[in-house]
């Protein structure tokens, strides 16, 4: 690029002149400031992980998953009932919320006429629910499911409550996956005489499965880490046994962690850190699986 307005202090030849003739201290200061903003989160993340690993180190052994919680003897305490409780609750959460969420997404994307007021209401409602505080879902679980429907504070109540909590996330992610399937596929299928459901079932859904799986895994990983609503649903007490059914009482990992944090002795503090590390590893594996799925099966149309 040949610069017609050459002046003293111009940048080296070959660099575009349009970037400005002068060195601007404000510009680079601003850039560094922005980078500092971004690094706040990253530094925080590193500090958090380093601290948790450091605190958890003395307690990272098989006691964590072989033993049950104990108030009197922290050196023998473990989180087995919480681990099994989490598996029970999350399995049923997945069973409840994934089919419902995916079906709702299919309805909104493939069937709903967006001009109708009730469809717009459903849409607005989902957007709002996605931002309702999780503790409010705890109130729903306590007031409606546990008391009025008399389900008690059981695995079933917790799984239903968490399903409703992550349902908007599943719906929003599934809708995006469905929307990414190009219209031409649907038109071709319909033109060949397929009905609307045949088109959805045989063309749209297979193409949208990877995206929906990614979104579903992320939604479930949110449910695994959620403590606030479950605290209200009877998971707080020290539970010395694994759940045996839907009507069993239970505890889950985040609530067990909260319990140990509330204890004053330092042994419980290390135990809490070890359980946090276990929880973070589970979430990391799930997130990695989601990213792998997205990259492995992502289709460019």
């Amino acid at each position: 690029m040949t610069a017609p307005v050459k002046e003293v202090g111009a940048p080296a030849p070959g660099r575009p002149m349009l970037a400005g003739p002068r060195w601007r201290p404000g510009e680079s200061l601003f850039r560094w400031l922005l980078l500092a903003c971004l690094s706040v989160g990253i530094v925080f993340l590193i500090a958090l992980l380093a601290y948790v690993v450091g605190e958890a180190w003395p307690r990272l052994d098989s006691r964590l998953w072989n033993n049950f919680p104990s108030i009197r003897r922290p050196e023998n305490a473990g989180a087995q009932s919480a681990i099994f409780g989490t598996i029970w609750v999350i399995s049923f959460t997945a069973l409840f919320c994934l089919p419902t969420g995916i079906m709702a997404a299919i309805y909104l994307e493939e069937y709903a006429d967006q001009e109708r007021w009730y469809n717009r209401l459903i849409e607005l409602n989902i957007q709002n629910l996605a931002a309702v505080p999780s503790i409010i879902y705890g109130i729903l679980g306590l007031g409606l499911l546990a008391r009025q429907l008399a389900l008690g504070t059981t695995v079933l109540t917790a799984a239903l409550t968490l399903s409703l909590l992550v349902l908007p996330v599943v719906i929003i992610a599934s809708r995006e996956a469905i929307r990414a399937v190009p219209q031409s596929i649907r038109h071709a299928s319909l033109a060949l005489g397929a009905t609307q459901w045949q088109t959805v079932w045989r063309q749209v859904l297979p193409a949208a499965v990877p995206g929906m799986a990614t979104g579903s895994i992320l939604a479930l990983s949110r449910a695994i880490g959620e403590a606030a609503p479950v605290i209200m649903l009877g998971a707080v007490t020290f539970v010395m046994f694994n759940p045996e059914g839907l009507d069993s009482s239970y505890t889950v990992l985040p609530v067990q962690i909260y319990n140990w944090i509330s204890q004053s002795r330092t042994e419980f503090h290390h135990l809490a850190a070890a359980a946090i590390l276990l929880l973070l590893v589970i979430l990391l594996v799930m997130n990695a699986a989601a990213i792998w799925l997205r990259n492995r099966y992502a289709r460019r149309w």
Binding site: G26, E27, F30, R31, L33, L34, L35, L38, V40, G41, L45, L48, Y51, E55, P99, T100, M103, A104, Y107, L108, Y111, A112, L121, I122, N125, I126, Q127, L129, A131, V132, P133, S134, I135, I136, Y137, G138, I139, L140, L142, G143, L164, L167, I171, Q196, W197, G225, A227, A228, I231, M232, V236, P254, I257, Y258, I261, S262, H269, I276, L279, N287
Partner: protein
């Protein structure tokens, strides 16, 4: 296909393309799918009907003016006072501290990612924000109580008397927790600003900073405000961090160095204790819950409206 179709075509040439036979299976499927979508509406209805009866019971015994203007909050003690202001004040103070961190940091990070970062850098940095968003809040609470508070007690002058549980530690950590929410929504809004606006400003001789601050940010303002409102909504509704790191209080206080209890923390603490059903203590949970739901509901609707507005302008 049935043989009746060609016949009817011959008989009525102007026949529409609609199918000749009703397909009951298709209608059933559509009904099922719609029922699944209605579960979300049922959730909202469920929240409202689980809140209203106990809240109405509560306000039969406690006047609304006492609830909204009282400055003492001791519903779980024997001398019961039901002034919700201490909880509201604590929520305001902690949310304020969180926003002081989250709004500038989130905005800066979003501007960097959208306007400055090269694609490779963005691919590397953006997931780290997503990881931050995926960490359970109980972990944030643990970090605030066990790491941030001792650090702050070392740094701050002793005369400020930072307590072991304080609004400050909870607010700071909550601020970092909201950064991903604000950053990712703001980045969406910034990316939606058409390139022509930026090129026009560059052509007039503006530097990159001027373009970012004076052109792109104002153009995306409604989206940015929506991001901040959603951030506030998350801060107000966050429970575990404040439950673990902010403590308990009964009186009205604004000093962030002291213990304070937010609306969410009270709900969680009261509901996890042994509260007899249908007692005034039990109903208190739902009265505070109704206030919290109303507050976040209004903020969510504002945010949703604002997001729609900027989408309409540029798409």
């Amino acid at each position: 296909m049935s043989t009746s179709a060609p016949k009817s075509v011959a008989g009525t040439p102007n026949r529409s393309l609609r199918r000749t036979r009703p397909r009951y299976g298709e209608a059933v499927i559509k009904g099922l799918l719609m029922a699944a979508a209605l579960v979300s509406v049922a959730t909202t209805v469920g929240i409202v009907i689980s809140l209203i009866p106990p809240a109405v019971d509560f306000f039969r015994q406690v006047s609304i003016s006492e609830f909204l203007t009282g400055t003492d909050w001791t519903p779980l003690f024997s001398d019961k006072k039901f002034g919700v202001l201490p909880l509201v004040a604590a929520t305001f103070v902690i949310t304020g501290i969180a926003l002081l961190i989250a709004v500038p940091v989130g905005l800066g990070a979003a501007i960097y990612l959208s306007e400055y970062a090269r694609p490779r850098v963005r691919q590397l940095l953006k997931p780290s924000l997503e990881v931050l968003a995926g960490i359970p809040t109980v972990v944030y609470g643990f970090f605030a109580l066990a790491f941030i508070t001792p650090q702050l007690q070392d740094i701050l002058p002793e005369a400020w008397a930072l307590e072991v549980r304080s609004g400050l530690a909870a607010g700071l950590v909550m601020g970092v927790m909201i950064v991903p929410t604000i950053a990712s929504l703001t980045e969406d809004a910034l990316s939606a600003v058409p390139h022509a606006l930026r090129e026009g400003a560059f052509a007039l001789g503006s530097g990159k900073r001027t373009v970012s601050v004076r052109v792109v940010v104002p153009a995306a303002l409604s989206g940015i405000v929506a991001a901040c409102v959603l951030g506030i909504s998350r801060a107000v509704g966050e429970t575990m961090i404040v439950l673990i790191a902010a403590g308990v209080s009964t009186g009205l206080r604004f000093n962030p160095f002291m213990e304070m209890e937010t609306m969410t923390a009270f709900i969680a603490r009261a509901a996890s204790g042994d509260v007899p059903v249908d007692s005034i203590e039990y109903n208190t949970i739902f009265a505070v819950g109704a206030l919290l739901f109303l507050a976040t509901f209004v903020m969510n609707l504002i945010a949703i409206r604002l997001v729609r507005k900027y989408r309409e302008v540029y798409e």
